[in-house]
Each structure stands twice: as structure tokens, then as C-alpha cells.
Amino acid sequence: MRPLDWIVLLGTIGFIVIYGIWKTRGSQDIEGYLKGDNSMKWWTIGLSIMATQASAITFLSTPGQAYEDGMRFVQFYFGLPIAMVIISVTVIPIFYKLNVYTAYEFLENRFDLKTRSLAALLFLVQRGLAAGITIYAPAIILSTMLGWSLTITNLVIGVVVIIYTMSGGSKAVSVTQKQQMAVMMGGMIIAGIMVVSYLPDNVGFGDAVAVAGKLGKMNVVDFNWDWKTSWDDRYNFWSGITGGLFLALSYFGTDQSQVARYLGGKSIGESRLGLLFNGLLKIPMQFMILFIGVMVFVFYQFNEPPVFFNEGTKSKLYATEHATELRTLEANYSSIFEEKKQAMQSLVSALKTEDEAAIAIAETKVENLNAAGKEVREEVKALITKAVPNAETKDTDYVFISFVMKYLPAGLVGLLLAVIFAAAMSSVASEMNALASTTVVDIYKRSINPNGSPMHYVNASKVLTIAWGIIAILFATFASMLDNLIQAVNIIGSIFYGTILGIFLVAFYFKRIKGNAVFFAAILAEVVVLYCFYFTEIAFLWFNVIGCVAVIVFGFILQTLIGKNEKELVKV
């Protein structure tokens, strides 16, 4: 990192934090602290919702996912706009009518205290774990790339967020997220322009997209469905539109980190418009981030990529007695790349002349050489497994940041790092704020100390923001590397979201089912989801559907049984 990068990074993050604290200064009551005095405009709500969902993992992992797997991950978001409409029509009016602070308050109104507490606890467990990963995911990558210790990086992200979230509550979270979104979008657009500008002179933008298509990266939509094999396919149209819909309904309709964003709206209209704004822009945003990943892939077809993107792990391997083997593999990889570079130029020329025969020959050659390069990478990974115990061999999360650090000019490296820090902070702030408000409103105020003064609950919220922040930092510090960071967060979410969504759907649409039935149905549904997670190969997006449907089905069965017993008791 050069001095200019430090100035840009520290200046951007420092400005956002100081602005958030200054903008929300002054005494606050519980209404102001947890709901921002219901003063948020629709664009603040919309940007805040998008910033909450777009964590650092989005900016680190998504381009890497596109580099490896192409554009198809965008299908994961197809259910989101439908969910935004459903929530705007059904959920927002009810939350406003009941004037709730958290989504779970509504459940006591509809069912009973134990169902409210169960849903709140499921949320606290799920979101508490996710908050740790939200800090850990960028920290592990940034610490490797910047040469910082993991603990220091965790602390930097966590402590900065705790300061302004504790100071200004929900309003500080929303206010800072506007600036954070501007930094994120601006930084990513500049990165996209830079990567395209770095392509060889004879490779235009259209050629780059055509090359990506020929190498299988422009696979945006897949409508194919096979009843035997498609269930474990994580990203296709059908899992995106159904599983993605359930996940989005649950995340935006029942997860307090999102519910708090639109509960702070100036009116129902402002909240609705904020959500619909997200429904309009989320898919284009994800498309853009994935597309940048694809362009990085094309860039590395003409510029030699590292044999392994995680330089930290590679350095550890160099320090072992296997260094010579690694050097040989790297030399092999370089010679394959040089040959591929020529084949790529042939492919570009063939695409320009639209010579189908030449395209087919060049495409086959490039694919063969890519396969050969992949084999060498696999050998390196096998070597890492053998020589560096506990090292993670999946390096896709390092693809984008590695490109940024190596190729972007001074100043832009700092800006892109600010993008990642801002994204991490925006998500973690919403999570800490939601964890604190749910603990205070649904557990502490409701079941432990119902007679405190408003100021007592504001102070309790502040203390709990710090407490949840410390828990998240500790979890981040001790978390071990997971398969793929963005998937880890989504998998944890999917394990719990289906059940929580099921409880809410029963509350909204199945008036016949009462508190006892839905409470035990939720416990049974969670057991079913955990069984599916541990003992089946079903793709995680389907857990949302399974958990949700299980709550409704078990709810009906149990309500019927409970109803029968009650009738018999009445007869006796």
C-alpha cells in the first residue's frame, strides 16, 4: 500500500464514521434510538437496505465466483423483486398499524409470548453467527493481502462499527449507509472500467464479452430442470425464483437487521418505495459485480494469473521443503499460459472475422490449455494440503482483491479497500443494531425488566450493541475458514430463515393455526431442516422452502390434533 492509498482509505472511512456520529448527535429516546424517529426518506431506506445486504463478502466473493463459475449466481436474486412486492403489500401495513419496534413483537400480538421469544431467539442465534462471519470474511482476506494480523483486522472493523452504531443507533446506521453505498458503487464502477481498459489494444469490450461467452462465463440464465439431478444445483432459474423468493421474504420480512431499516421510514409510502427501489436495482447491481468478475477472468486470459491467488498461503508453502516442487509447477503453469496467450489471440482474430472453423479450433485449444492450467492449480492445491496444515485451498475469494492490489494505480487501491471496509461496516452495523434492539425489546424489556424508564432501555441498547459487537469480534477471531464465505453466510441463513418465515406466514395467512400449534411446528420444522443439512445433498436454497412449508404443514396437523383434544376436554 502506497501513502496515497492510506490517505484515501483512512479519509473515506474516517469521514463516514465522523459524519454518522455528527449527524445523529444529541440526546435520544428509545423511539429515536431504535427507529430513527421515523424520519427516513425512501432513498435513505432503499440505500440502507441495499447496503445492509451488500456485505464485504459480496464484493470479495462474488467477482471470484464469476471468475470460477460465470454469471449464473445472479439467478439467486430472481425471487427478490417478487418478495419486495409481497412485503410492501402485506407486511409493511401490519407492522405500521401495530407500531412495532421489531418484527417479533407482532408474533405475540398474533400468537403468544413463547412464539415471539422462539422467533427472536432463532434470529439472535442465526444473526449472531452471521455477524461474526460478516467481520471474519473480509478480515481474513484483508489481513492476508495487507499483511496485518487477523485479530487486528477484526478489531479495526468491529470497533469502528461499534463506536458509531452505539453512538447514534438505527439512524446512524442508515445515515452512514448512504455514504457507504456511494463509495461501494463508485469504487466498483471504476474497477470495472479499469479492468476493461487493461485488456490488450486489439481486444475491445465486445470482443471481451464474446471471449467470456466462448469460455462458458456468460451463462446467466439456466431454465433446465431435471427432477433427478437439479435439486443439488445451487444456481438455476427455478431454485432462484422459488428458493430465492422464500429466502428474500424471510430476510426482508422477518430479519430485524432489514426490518429495522424500513420501520424507520417517515410513512408507509416511504418504506414501500425504499423496498421497491431495492427490488428494481438489486439484480442489476449483482449483475454488474459478477460481470466485473468475468472481465477479470478475461483479463487473466491475456495476463498471467498467479498459480494460487492467496499469496499468504503460497508464501507459507515456499517456506517448506516443497518450495522446489512449487517452483516447478509455477514454471509449468507459465509455459501453459504463454501458449494459451497465443491461442487467445487466435480466438480473438477468429471472432473478429466470424470464421466459424477458426473459432472452433482456437476455442478447443484455449479450453484444453485452460484445463491443463487447472490441473497444475489442482497439483498446487494438493501440495498446499500436504505441506501447510489447515490451509484453505479454495482461493476464489482472493481473485478480485489480488487483481486490485497488483494492477490498480495508487489511490484506487485505497478506494477499493475502502469499498470492502465500507461494505463490511454497513452490514455489521445493521446486524449489531438489530441484535441489540431484538435483545432489548423482545427479551429484556418483555420478559426480564418490563418497568424500566425509556432512557434505561436506550442505555441497555447501547450496552448490548457493545456486547454483541464483542461477541461478533470474538467469533470472527476464532472462526475457522469455511468453504466459500458468501455461501457460508447464505447457508447459515437458510437453515433458520425457512422456519422463521413459516411462523410469519402462518401469522399472516393461516388464522386457524394458533400459538401452541405454531410453536411446536416451528421446533419440528427446524429439526427437519437440520436433518436435511446434515444427512442429505439438497442445495441450501431449498432449506428455506422446506422449513417454511414444514411449519405450515406441522402447524395444520398439530392445530387439528390440539383442536380435537380441546373439543374432547370441553365435552368432558
Binding site: K23, G26, P81, M218, L273
Partner: protein
């Protein structure tokens, strides 16, 4: 600490912009989704 922020006197919106009712806004979001899926399908087919 005293709060010196200017008072926001702008009335909250009750109707969506450009449309007479929320239904129009909902159809815009769903229509945009359908358009994007169709566009992505065309991109997939062109570059496959």
C-alpha cells in the same frame, strides 16, 4: 448534547412517483424482473 439539526418539514410521500396507485409501482418492479430475465436469456443464448 443539543441537537441542532434542521427540522425536516417535507411531507412524507403517500403516493408513488409517476403512478396513480401502488399497483402501478408493483407492476413496474415485476415487469422489470421479467425484462431482465428475458434480457439475460438472450445474452446467454447469444454468447453460448
Amino acid at each position: 448534547m443539543k441537537n441542532n439539526h434542521p427540522v425536516d418539514e417535507e411531507p412524507p410521500i403517500e403516493k408513488p412517483p409517476f403512478f396513480n396507485s401502488w399497483k402501478g409501482m408493483y407492476w413496474l418492479v415485476l415487469g422489470n424482473l421479467a425484462f431482465m430475465i428475458a434480457l439475460f436469456y438472450i445474452i446467454t443464448k447469444i454468447y453460448e
